[in-house]
Amino acid sequence: MATKMDAARVYRMMVRSRMVEDAIVEAWAEGLVPGEYHAAIGEEGINAGIIAHLTEHDTMALDHRNTSPFIMRGTDPKALMLEVLGSDEGINRGMSGHMHIFDKSVKAGSDGIVGSGGPLAVGQAYAHTRLHPGSVAITFHGEATMNQGLLMESYNMAVAWNLPVVFVCKDNKWGITTYSKDVTGGDPVSRAKGFGLHVETAAGHKVQDVYAAAGRLVERARAGKGPGFLYLTCHRPNGHFEGDPLVGLLRNPKKQLSVWVPELQGGLVAEGGSVADKAKAMAGVGVRAGRYTRDVALTLRKDPVRRGRSLVSSSVATKIEEQERAEIRAAMDEARERVGHRVGFGVKGGIR
């Protein structure tokens, strides 16, 4: 698949994804999205660079940051929004919600058990070898999920059965509030190689690099040469999920600290525990906050969508943005209208 990347198409995918997620994030802040919402904002370069390679029978096993890949693959934005907003007119009739969306029409499903996409893709790939040879199964996971045993098992199984799977590792350095290096032995690439996986790497905010690296792995897989591991760096400007308390600490330190400081002081002065341990613990929280601040700063420089814009002419970019904005706005307006402008989401709060 030494095909050249269609920059306009890829930029459109990224813009569309970002706009859908921005609209959902806005609705979330207004209390219209029940439960958790994990944006893939910052991962658009990864998703577009890979999904641009997919053809009819290819399948995707997605994780909790699934809105972006669904939208890029062709899921109807309004149907997805309705689902995420808690309507029973959503794509899954209100049964799934953001974390477990299934869209058979684009051959993609998502799951909230971290790592499960790995073995699900292994099964899909096995089916492809029998039903649609030449098709691939793609699965996405974060770097912290690489410590989940069922995912590691699936690396092995894909190699042992020589299956057309591409495992996409999106390394944003964090698993919720935990810095992944603090709880991980070795590094993702050596670990993947230890399973005999063929590895490619790229910087996730450079969509053209992702496209090239993904192309090599997808091509290998289609040719029956076995699974691949695509290691990509990225950032999560919105934190783990909307409302991430660490992000809150940065954006609205006063509010957050007014809660945390007395709590932590309570711990410090309470009986039990050595002074040295307490000092270390406080320093640990400090280190975490410091790392976090640094990462968020980096994020702004590494926006894949902004970078992707430079790959097309400014007039093309503007046209794409206008078209997408109009469609996505209309979709969200309609979705909001259908669920009503409720505040909160308790059933007594005005749910239709």
């Binding site: 399948t59 799951d111 893709a121 069922l150």
Partner: protein, 346 residues
């Protein structure tokens, strides 16, 4: 035994042969049916030699991944029969059953089916120790959108396996190891003629007539294995045979027992249960699962909900299953315990 008479030609088969016989028939008819699991190329060597290594595959010891992969394969167009040595081992990857097999169809609002069969040995009686002797079918049957099948005879094993493969639902097909001569020989017997489990094995469960051409047996239809008016003994799997033994003992004491074989735990044939219990006015539920969280409680609830007045007793597993044969026998729902429970209601 009142198994429905058929006119088709039959062959005598072992329980395990009957399962593979039905699976082989399904594989011959539908190329999307595949089977895989640990050591299946040896365990299912007849199917392997018939359909080859691409459809009968050995897996690594990765139950979690390969059960999840079964869900993925099923949603991508195959009908995989995923095999485990024992259901106890499924717990290293229970999420594949609970959070994927049982849920993905529902998450997709019914649009995307999971036509997978999980096949696994269950149960004790042959001294394999407490984490190689469980049934766990009570938990399995509690999850929404899961079918749970426990055949008690070779003929049922064949017909129910065919239905399991043809079903579009996620189905757990559980084979009592005590009835499966192949696995008993494999685990603990083949090379020693000194071993004799026959006195503890129910002959009618281990071997029996099976139609040469298997017909699917519908789920949710209990079979009355013995008819008696004094008490109804309800069970599945090996327990059905233990109930039949108990019924013999009871008959000697002048108590006539009905024995109801549920065959599938989900769907559950509630009508049959209520009907027979109402008729006899007494019921003993014999369950080779833990006493809490299983069939025994469910049947009690059904009776109360339907205002069926009956005297009730249950015989199930009340402790970690011991290894030593005599301790294991005492801990499982054996015929003596079942008969005693029935008498306590007299």
């Amino acid at each position: 035994m009142s198994i429905t008479a058929t006119t088709t030609a039959t062959t005598t088969m072992r329980y395990d042969e009957a399962v593979d016989h039905a699976l082989g028939q399904a594989m011959a008819e539908d190329p999307t049916v595949v089977t895989y699991g640990e050591d299946v190329q040896i365990l299912r060597r007849v199917l392997h030699s018939r359909f080859g290594g691409d459809r009968v595959k050995d897996t690594p010891i990765s139950e979690s991944a390969f059960m999840y992969a079964g869900v993925g394969a099923a949603m991508a167009g195959l009908r995989p029969v995923v095999e485990l040595y024992m259901i106890d081992f499924a717990t290293v990857g229970w999420s594949a059953i609970l959070n994927a097999g049982s849920k993905f169809k529902d998450f997709s609002a019914g649009e995307w089916k999971v036509p997978m069969v999980l096949r696994a040995g269950v149960g004790g009686w042959y001294s394999d120790g407490g984490e190689h002797a469980q049934t766990l079918w009570g938990s399995l049957a509690s999850y929404p959108s899961v079918e749970v099948v426990v055949p008690s005879t070779p003929a049922d094993a064949a017909g129910l396996m065919l239905s399991a493969v043809q079903s579009d639902e996620f189905t757990v097909f559980l084979t009592p190891k005590l009835l499966d001569q192949q696995i008993l020989d494999y685990l603990a017997g083949d090379q020693r003629d000194t071993l004799d489990l026959s006195h503890i094995q129910p002959a009618a469960g281990v071997r029996g007539e099976v139609p040469a051409r298997v017909e699917p047996i519908p789920f949710g239809q209990a079979a009355l294995r013995r008819d008696g008016g004094d008490v109804t003994l309800v069970s599945v799997g090996t327990g059905v045979h233990r109930c039949l033994e108990a019924a013999d003992r009871l008959a000697a004491d002048g108590i006539e027992a009905s024995v109801l074989d549920l065959r599938t735990l989900a769907p559950l044939d509630k009508e049959a249960i209520v009907e027979h219990v109402a008729r006899t006015g007494r019921v003993v539920v014999a369950d080779e699962d833990y006493v809490r969280g299983g069939l025994t409680g469910e049947i009690a609830a059904l009776l109360l909900e339907s205002d069926t007045s009956a005297r009730y007793a249950r015989v199930a597993v009340e402790q970690t299953i011991p290894f030593a044969p005599h301790l294991e026998y005492a801990a499982l729902p054996n015929a003596e315990r079942i008969a005693a429970a029935a008498k306590s209601l007299a």
